[in-house]
Each structure stands twice: as structure tokens, then as C-alpha cells.
Symmetry: C2
Subunit: 282 residues, 2 copies
Amino acid sequence: MKEFARKQREENRIFGLVPTMGALHAGHLSLIKQARQQCSSVVASIFVNPTQFGPSEDFAKYPRTLSSDIEKLESAVVHYLFLPEAKDIYPQNYSTYVNVDGLSERLEGRIRPGHFRGVSTVVMKLLQIVQPQFAYFGRKDAQQAAIISRMAKDLNLDAEMVTCPIEREPDGLAMSSRNVYLNPSDRQSATVLHRTLQAAQLLLQNGTRDALSLQSAMHRVLKEEPRAKVDYAEIVDAQTFEPLTHINRKAYVLIAAKFGETRLLDNMLVDFSAGGQLTSEL
Amino acid sequence: MKEFARKQREENRIFGLVPTMGALHAGHLSLIKQARQQCSSVVASIFVNPTQFGPSEDFAKYPRTLSSDIEKLESAVVHYLFLPEAKDIYPQNYSTYVNVDGLSERLEGRIRPGHFRGVSTVVMKLLQIVQPQFAYFGRKDAQQAAIISRMAKDLNLDAEMVTCPIEREPDGLAMSSRNVYLNPSDRQSATVLHRTLQAAQLLLQNGTRDALSLQSAMHRVLKEEPRAKVDYAEIVDAQTFEPLTHINRKAYVLIAAKFGETRLLDNMLVDFSAGGQLTSEL
């Protein structure tokens, strides 16, 4: 892969990387679409990264659908697939980890200790191997995208990290490889995440700026769905992921909840135009 | 610096980096000499890296001798000097650290917690900024060199890390920017480090392979110098820095000791030829 990437650079190709764990869905395909618009060569990687799973998490049963993934990548006209094995990414005596302090310990990081260390380490390795000018990440995992952007900036990487919009099912559920775990009742219940964000969006559009009021309203919607075991519903600064009390800058409204054994994430991006006008993106 | 380095790469220049904290001495100049032999462009960096100093260490009083350093770099025909400021290397909200687990916690790492995390982070940043094909480090700091080599391998960097021999004063003291701290009595006493390694070398040449015997002999020599406050005298595997009981592979004989308030390091590299013949390098 390194040798190939070097040759591409010598030919002055603009090189884009879409790192995935496979089990591809329309969310991944939207990253590829965006990559194809900006880059002359697009590499997708598929690697279910063991270091980002906790000991009691779903590494072993994470969905692996390689042949269907390859079909989807061919249809999406990805130029190259990088498909490394764990023993090549983490050979014997492997010892080096990249961590983004602070950002990696909040919210998802508190619930999944070590998760983001695994993510930033593997992304750093993929970026060094492929050396793309652009790399693409989905906004559904907003904290991950913020951590990777922070890492790229802090470590003076050349590559630009691009965060792409959330793709949703027709009923609003955010696309995720883990949605296949949901049984029919939980699948139905999981739409409460999107409804909750819609409720928050309406309140914001009607002028609510107090984070606590918004949070209370969100919890009221979430409680209507007894199958949802809510981990958090938070409003945070979009760069630092520190909680906001007053919503007056770029922010994320974040939800994490379990349905059965399946943890799902969703979020809304809130921003303000130059004129101070609120904008929001589900 | 990034822009300049990009242009050099486009011209297919072979690019070498010699990262330093300034206070240059013959040891640094030997790194530059080696770099000039392998590379068509040599960049030296001078940056007294705050993140590798502990709160009670000598960051504030670390010798800063910029105008004399620049003269030396000009005489050594370094092509470029990279002289960043702390606020540019660690801007506001800086949060990302690279750590080599295990290796960074032993020996120097145990005595100076966080030290190697600071070193590997700043070297990673310099490597990303300058993007050299080769980077040069002195073997006097053997553990640092091993950690950086491990990091470069683990994170799939293109650059090759080169470890260069120790330069010594005529009386055997290993060159170090911290030698200037020594008062005349401590300067005289500090030669015990080299004498201790010479004694170990003689024993090895005479067939000693038991690490404990070698260690005891080293401590006997060190005790002859009451001004030396010894931190450790160890024989370790040259890659993992784990203690060896039997010396039968590539190894370091390491010493760390304080003279007054000044901590000094020295070491000997032990290896075996293909025929099993011992070689050693002071």
C-alpha cells in the first residue's frame, strides 16, 4: 500500500482515504461520493480495529460482510481497497499509541475507556500508510471526527480531515453498521433518537438557548420510549466537547442510548451564521 | 517549514533531519556529518521541548546558546535551521500525545515520568513537519533512540531513524549539553562512567556473560567515586530495554548517575557477530 501510494503521489494524483470497518451502508457510500468529488484516486480501507473495542464489547460479533462490501465499493467506483490484517497493523511487540487528551475522555470516552485511543492510533497509521491529501469521516460519530481533526492539526499532518453529513433511513434513524443488531421492536423504538433531535431543533428554532431547558425537553421525548436506555443527551461545544450552558456558538446536540444490547448514537450540528442566525443540521 | 519541505521533496532531494535542543556540541556535529553523507539537504531543528521536562527539572535553566549554535551549524554546512517557538509547536488547546508503552516506562522513564511521551510527541511533530527520509539521534540517549525507532516502525512512518555513535571528551566523558552544569570536581568525577563501562567491556571480552556479575563489577567501580549518586547500572535487551540475566544477544550496558544536581547517562552497545563473536562499542 505504501509503495502504491508513493507512486500515486509521484503522478501528482489527489488522493482520498475513506477508512471503514466494513459492513458498508449508505453512510459510507456518501463518504466515497464526497471523496470522488475532491480526489482523483480514492482508497477505501476495511479494518475491524481490535484496539478500539473494550474487552466486553462487540469486536468478535461486529458485522463482517466482505463480499457485499466489495460489490458496494465497485459500484461506488472506489479505485483501491486496502484490506490489511490485524497482524500487519499490530505486529508482535507493537507498543505505540496516539491519544487526544481531554476530548477522548468525555462522553463516549467515559463510557468506552480506551476506545478513542484505539481510533486515533489506527487512523494515524492509515494516514501514514496511505498518505492521502483528504480523509473522510461521518458526522454520526461526531466526537470521533472531532478527535481525529484535533489529532491531524496537533501532529501537523498534511492531510485534511473532512466530516460528512449523517445519512438516515427513511424514518430518520441514522445509518450505522450496528443497526443490523436491532430486533424489530428495538428498530422501531430507535427512531426516538431522531424524533428527540427534531424536538430540540424546533425549540432552538423558536429561540431556546438555555442548554438545560433543551436537555430536559429531550429527556421528556426519550422517556416516551421505554425501550431506550439513555446514556446521555448533551449539548457541547463543537470543538472541545465541553458542556455548554448557553447555546451561542457552534455546538453539537448529542444522544447516546442503548436498545437491547445495541448502543446507538445520533446528533445535530448547531451553528450560527455571520448574522447570528441559528442554523441546524440533522 | 512544511512548504519548504514540500518543495524539496518535489525536487527529489534526499532530506535529513537532525532534531536538537541546541547547546550544540561535537555529538550533534557528528549527527550532522552523518546526515550530510546520506542526504542532499540537511535540516537541523533547535527546540527546547517543554513537554519532555518534569516540573522539577531543568527546563528554565537548560543551556540556550543560539548564536554559537548558529555558527556551529554554518561551519558544519547545515542547509536549513528550523527554529520554532513553543506557541507554534503547542498552540492553545493542544491535546495530542504519542506514547510508546512499555519501553517508555522503564529506566529513564521510571525516573522521569512523562519524559519520553514528550520526546516521542515532539519528534513525531517534527517528522510530520519536515518529512525527511532520514532522522538522526545520538546513541548516548540509547533509550530515547530505541523509543523513536519503535514509534517510527509502529506508526508506519516513511522516515528511517538513524542512531549514531557516542562522541566523547578526551578523558572519555560522553558529550552532553548538560556537561556545562558540572563544577570542576564533579566534571572530574564524571569520568567514572566511562571507566565503569571500560571495566565491563574488559569482563565481557574475557568471557563474562552473567549480567549480575557484570552489574556487581560495575557497582564496585562506581563506588570508588563517592560523588557519583548512581540511579542504575543495567544490562538490557537493545530493543525492548528489558533486563537481561544472560548476555547472549544485542544489548545495552546502561549507566545513569547524578553528580551534584546534574544527571548524566552513558552506555555501551554489545552485540554478537554472525560467528557468535562478541563486539562492543563505547
